[in-house]
Assembly symmetry: C2
Homo-oligomer: 455 residues x 2
């Protein structure tokens, strides 16, 4: 192909995906089923619907339908901030003096600042369709809470967000964005729920964790009429919605005849990574193409590279279903020095199974190295990346530098999940030279895993 590749590839509206892609349909080894925490047996649709909206529960359990129509109202909302650009990083290539071609799919051009809006709008839509009054959720770094606030505001749904207390206090601006969109934001653990009161009693002065906040949000959903709980990552339904990222990326690459050699994504709960890689993993699974897929996780929370593949609780309060996943143990809390998201103890069961089966490899990277990559990227590509996204940048740069040594002109594609505008406390630490790295010891991880049920 001799077509000149522009800096930014924008799809036309008519080229935007009309269906999500469900990679589970093409997996020979399906992700293990969710278990009911009461019976420890595979959970049924009827058991899921008191917590989740019915259509979302159905999507959660569906591992056979490859394509699912995106309802028109969601497609219209997508048109407000999508397609997101696939950008050729010409300036980064030049700065690195690499023969590699680097592309990034940028999901930060919306007010939630990340890809989270892709699933938030879908979940809010189905809640509205079901006639609900509102939804509850948790948020850590704040992107998911912001995205859900925006989505609920659009459909005129009530939105109750339990925000990990340390973030609530350290990120007042995130909180204000959510309030501007009409959400009720409560620091977690709160005194509003049984589980919150219990945690506050047991650990006075605790600054909270994502696992606690999930438990509170689930309790709030199941004790109020007309409410359901929604979650921004980990779940298979979320990966389904996030497949829009990978589908657009694939269409944009195809349009210019570009064959990716590797796909790189940061991985916390797996929502961005899973969405980005789904169509590519599907091609591998169907034997149509081959790609190197790399999940990048923080060295301080290394569920894939140092965790164990087994059943674990999704939340601290043990009210949610159990999932089989690579996990550090649901009691694992990453060091406080770790910035941004990617703090979840486990990994999406879809991504976990693809990793287990060798379709995905994983790398863990240190925090200071990540911020160095973030700054280098920001200076030449003009976007200040989120700390989460910068994990993928780190590995993309490393791979491009390898290409410089070998002379290979590989096509490197990575997911730039969002912007770092609300993470300036971390950037300030980096600018001041005060950033530190923390790597958990083997003993820490072993002790956390030892507390898991044996299933």
């Amino acid at each position: 192909m001799s077509m000149e590749i522009p800096y930014k590839i924008y799809l036309e509206e008519k080229e935007m995906p009309a269906q999500w892609y469900n990679v589970r349909a093409d997996m020979k080894n399906k992700p293990a089923p969710l278990l009911n925490p009461g019976t420890m047996k595979p959970i049924t649709l009827d058991e899921l619907t008191p917590v989740f909206c019915e259509e979302l529960a159905r999507q959660e359990l569906d591992d056979t339908t490859p394509y699912i129509d995106i309802p028109e109202e969601i497609r219209n909302f997508y048109k407000m901030y999508r397609p997101s650009p696939l950008t050729r990083a010409y300036c980064l290539e030049k700065a690195l003096d690499t023969p590699a071609h680097i592309y990034y799919k940028f999901e930060g051009n919306n007010t939630s600042g990340s890809h989270k809006l892709n699933s938030a709008i879908a979940q809010a839509y189905y809640a509205k369709q079901e006639g609900l009054k509102g939804v509850t959720t948790e948020t850590g770094a704040g992107q998911w809470g912001t995205a859900l606030s925006m989505a609920c505001s659009y459909f005129d749904l009530d939105c109750q967000v339990y925000m990990v207390k340390v973030s609530y206090e350290q990120k007042p601006f995130r909180r204000e964005v959510m309030r501007t969109y009409g959400a009720k934001v409560t620091p977690s653990p709160s005194m509003d729920t049984n589980v919150g009161r219990k945690i506050n009693e047991e650990f006075p002065g605790t600054t909270g964790s994502l696992g606690c906040a999930i438990s509170e949000a689930v309790e709030a959903a199941t004790t109020q009429d007309g409410y359901r709980y929604v979650l921004g990552s980990v779940l298979s339904q979320v990966l389904l919605h996030q497949s829009i990222i990978g589908l657009e990326t694939k269409t944009a690459l195809d349009k210019y005849g570009i064959k990716a050699d590797m796909i790189i994504g940061c991985a916390g709960g797996g929502s961005n990574l899973g969405g980005l890689i789904s169509p590519f993993a599907g091609e591998i699974l169907r034997g149509e193409a081959d790609y190197q897929i790399i999940a990048v996780e923080p060295a301080s929370c290394p569920s894939l590279t140092r965790g164990s593949y087994r059943y674990d609780f999704c939340d601290t309060g043990k009210v949610c279903p159990l999932a089989k996943m690579y996990t550090l143990g649901s009691g694992f809390i990453p060091s406080a020095n770790h910035a941004g998201g990617l703090r979840y103890h486990g990994m999406s069961s879809v991504v976990s199974q693809l990793y287990e089966d060798g379709y995905v490899e994983a790398r863990s990277v240190g925090q200071t190295d990540v911020f160095q990559a973030a700054q280098q990227f920001a200076k030449v590509e003009g976007i200040l990346p989120a700390p989460e996204s910068s994990h993928a940048i780190r590995v993309a740069i490393d791979e491009a530098l390898k290409c410089k040594q070998t002379g290979e002109a590989k096509n490197i594609v990575f997911g730039l999940t969002g912007t770092g505008y609300f993470d300036m406390v971390a950037y300030q630490k980096f600018n001041d030279g005060d950033m530190t790295d923390y790597i958990p010891t083997d003993a820490e991880i072993e002790s956390s895993l030892a507390k898991l049920p044996t299933i």
Copy 2:
């Protein structure tokens, strides 16, 4: 035309403007010349070059060349974050139930968060071409300083930013973005310059003003070897660079056969408004078309609607050239309750002359009304707008509601200059119901104007 109009109109790279448009060339009544503050005579190129880069000084004085080539390196940088989308506000139209068609040109999809980068990259480019070591500037709300930091980082130029002290303290995150891009940020008034020390002595504990910061930056530029001063608004060179906004808007509208009825922009120093309207004003001036053009300014700093058209200093220290402009007097400082930018005492001499000649009309709007419009827009269009941009949103909504009464399907185009992610202190005040409005009295404005020189 029956072509369906997409939510977002993105130009292709090849459709992007290769030249800036200089509206002064088509003005019969040219803007009055800048005056040398020493001689009070029209300033010459030789007198301007100790302060400004030579090419920029030339652009400042050129009121006859209609089109000026955009150098290739600048066009390449533009390709990283441009073309900016022209968005059809379908959701806002639906929420307002108006027959009007509303379009906005969104300039916030870059890390500076605003249109300011369009001129920053041009000014940094010419500084680099001239072999300078670096540039100095001032910043108030912080968008301009951030944009210039990004541009200087790209061309490896030193960047020294004098940031109004109140913003430096209240917007530490803006400061950190600039530092991440390698800029040196100094709170103004500082003790580093003569003018800063003098102001600190005269007004102990002052939190600074844009006029003071300009004076400090100019002094810093003229007392260091290899430095020049750059400014982000007001100047005619800045409007020239910002014409990219209007040119892209015009091309996008033409592509779909849309004839704008009115163009609305917020107006502080006039850089966004001037850039947005330039090609449209050019058509009016050449007798080719007619548009209603509306400049929207804050009621707390109403230079066009309540100021006087006369020569004034551009800065508090009176070291800059004088410009003939609509002004509230260079000593005027807007009430501290006013959020965001649009705090400058005067208005671009180009915009002032177009207003004087009746090509542009002006409206002033109150702060609470502006934030109401901002929130309404954010909820349906998914973008949290900057307080500055929200002035234009306010009037666009007002005009769309008038169309609802009259049944007219007008095409309303407005400039959405940027995002409000660093303005959450103001949004918090609004969310808490603590926002107040302030309108200066006639006596305040008269007393400020009475201090101006008679020319």
